[in-house]
């Protein structure tokens, strides 16, 4: 335990000090995107890796919050952070509705994935076609930047710290939850939900809790992402986006809270470093998804952990 904490401390110091000696704007930008995608991956894993529900709704939570943040600012005149909170609230309401429908009807596994996919597509089609509000397929350019503690968060370095902080907060929350009684409920649901039911665990409630919590974190990530990127487009809610998130989690390892960040880092950094076009990026995502399922089903983390266990046992 001590060595884990020490390792965490060292990594934290390293990441905090990074912008001091890495001056490359490209690298820092990649890291900003990686941290935000990491938030998506870690929150998705709460639903998928720990509670065992394959949700295809994550990109929708991400995209809806992004649009909602801007629209709340525009039509209600509120500040950025208020809009972020409102967007998160909106996403939690949507998640409660979708989740209640799915879990009340006890949709299992694959059918849950298909129905969440259907809802995600409905959200995407709404964004795509509601031209008056969302400007349809043209998207929206965002000029504003958030203000925090008197500073305007503009420029790569401020965003680096904001996104890193957001990721750290996400990891802390998820870690705490997973290592608590609630995390045990999630595991019970994942491994044998009927048994959990007879032991007094309200399976519906905790499935919904994981689903909503994961989506709310994705929502916050979406609000941040859009304003860093400076634009909104319906592609945020696409199946490709969901696919990317699943690929990150599978690559990193779905049995760990932290491992999906590794997946996010690899899959975000790779295409940018080697100047992939959008098509090649899709090919890479798809190939990684396929290879991970077939060759490395436990992801990088899981495979290393299994290897270490074998060494110990031998």
């Amino acid at each position: 335990m001590k060595s884990q904490q020490a390792g965490l401390f060292i990594v934290s110091i390293f990441l905090l000090a990074l912008p001091l000696w890495v001056k490359s704007d490209v690298v820092l930008t990649i890291l900003v995107f990686s941290w935000l995608q990491g938030m998506l991956a870690v929150s998705f894993n709460l639903i998928f890796g720990f509670t065992g529900q394959l949700s295809m709704f994550h990109a929708a939570a991400f995209g809806v919050a992004a649009y909602a943040t801007h629209l709340f600012m525009q039509h209600l005149g509120v500040g950025y952070w208020t809009a972020v909170v409102l967007a998160a609230l909106l996403v939690s309401v949507l998640s409660i509705i979708v989740g209640t429908i799915c879990f009340r009807f006890r949709l299992k596994e694959f059918y849950f994935a298909v129905v969440t996919l259907a809802f995600s597509e409905m959200a995407r089609l709404t964004v795509l076609n509601w031209n008056d509000v969302t400007n349809g397929s043209l998207g929206i350019n965002l000029q504003e930047k958030p203000w925090l503690l008197g500073f305007k968060v503009d420029g790569t370095v401020p965003w680096y710290y904001l996104s890193l902080f957001a990721l750290a907060a996400t990891l802390l929350v998820c870690w705490r939850v997973v290592h608590s009684w609630m995390g045990r409920c999630f595991s019970a649901i994942r491994l044998n939900d009927e048994l959990g039911d007879t032991l007094g665990i309200n399976v519906f409630r905790y499935k919904l809790a994981a689903f909503v919590a994961g989506n709310v974190i994705a929502a916050i990530a979406g609000s941040l992402y859009a304003f860093y990127l400076g634009s909104l487009e319906p592609g945020f809610l696409s199946i490709d986006q969901s696919l990317g998130i699943v690929a990150m989690v599978l690559l990193g390892g779905r049995s760990s809270v932290f491992a999906p960040v590794a997946g996010a880092l690899l899959l975000t950094a790779l295409p940018h470093l080697i100047h992939f076009s959008a098509e090649v990026r899709s090919i890479v995502y798809g190939s990684i998804l396929i290879l991970t399922i077939l060759v490395l089903p436990q992801g990088i983390y899981g495979s290393i952990a299994a290897l270490l266990r074998k060494r110990h046992a031998a």
């Binding site: 809802f119 090919i283 995502y285 190939s287 396929i290 399922i293 077939l294």
Partner: protein, 286 residues
């Protein structure tokens, strides 16, 4: 108004058979290999582009290009099955993830090779029928007839021939079928290849009616899965009717509701059926 309605009904039914042939592939694959193969959409796209290639680039007459396209697609299906799907039998989640991965890879590849500029087949069968004042292109009717024939022929094969009944028996009880001498892995591969061939046929015929672009498969396969689940996954004749119900609903719906809702009907059906009658409308029937 009546004419418009009739027109949309007919168009919807014809489009429905296109949904239906892919839905048939979805249903067969599910029944025998236990996964819902979303990748059938890219095989449809492959068939479409192959038909275009054989006709417009290689210069073959269309009636020859279609079987060639189907053969090419079937071959691709065989390779995909041996290299990929073989490892996901009966694992719905893995099957879903693997097929989505495959879709991403193949669609992006198609975009790189053929770009998103739409490709058009030159006129295959010009001329129209006029039915009650409504104009129906001859080619559409031909496509309708062909697809209908193939679906019905498949149904006949499944119920009358030994292979078909073996396949049906396997879907009912894999262990028993195996004990009776049915070569299950061959059966599974065979069904996958047949399903991709069906998708290829659908694509090749689609090419004669519409312009092509690499993402045409994704939209179709989602509709096909919706149709298959609507009808009851596993029902052969059901996939035809599911497709037609969906096609007609979309056609008629576009009269009364804005065009933007077109893709939503299928999604709503999907959610409604999975929640209220998960076995599908034609559950229990072949």
């Amino acid at each position: 108004m009546g004419q418009l309605l009739l027109g949309q009904l007919l168009n919807g039914a014809i489009l429905g058979t296109l949904y239906g042939i892919i839905a048939l592939g979805v249903t067969l694959t599910f029944g025998i290999t236990g996964i819902v193969n979303f990748a059938l959409g890219v095989f449809m796209m492959l068939g479409a582009y192959a038909a275009w290639y054989f006709t417009d680039v290689a210069g073959l007459p269309y009636p020859l290009a279609v079987p060639c396209a189907v053969a090419v697609t079937a071959l691709a299906g065989l390779i995909a099955d041996q290299g990929l799907f073989r490892f996901t039998r009966n694992n719905l989640v893995n099957g879903l993830l693997v097929s989505i991965g495959m879709i991403a890879v193949l669609e992006a590849s198609a975009l790189l090779i053929w770009t998103s500029t739409p490709k058009e087949l030159h006129r295959v069968l010009p001329g129209v029928f006029v039915i009650f004042g409504f104009v129906l292109p001859k080619m559409k009717l031909l496509v309708f007839g062909l697809l209908l024939a193939v679906i019905i022929a498949t149904y006949m094969a499944l119920t009358r021939t030994w292979i078909g009944r073996a396949a049906y028996a396997y879907a009912q009880n894999p262990e028993a079928a195996q004990l009776m001498g049915v070569r299950t892995s061959r059966l599974q591969t065979g069904v996958v290849v047949y399903s991709t061939a069906l998708a290829g046929l659908g694509g090749a015929l689609y090419a004669s009616l519409y312009s092509l672009e690499p993402t045409l498969g994704s939209l179709f396969v989602l509709k096909a899965v919706e149709a298959a689940i609507l009808a009851g996954i596993g029902s052969v004749i059901g996939s035809l009717f599911g497709g037609i119900i969906l096609g007609v609903t979309e056609g008629v719906g576009s009269i009364y509701l804005p065009l933007a809702f077109r893709d939503a009907y299928g999604l709503v059906f999907l959610v409604a059926i999975l929640l209220f009658k998960p076995a599908g409308l034609f559950a229990g029937r072949r």
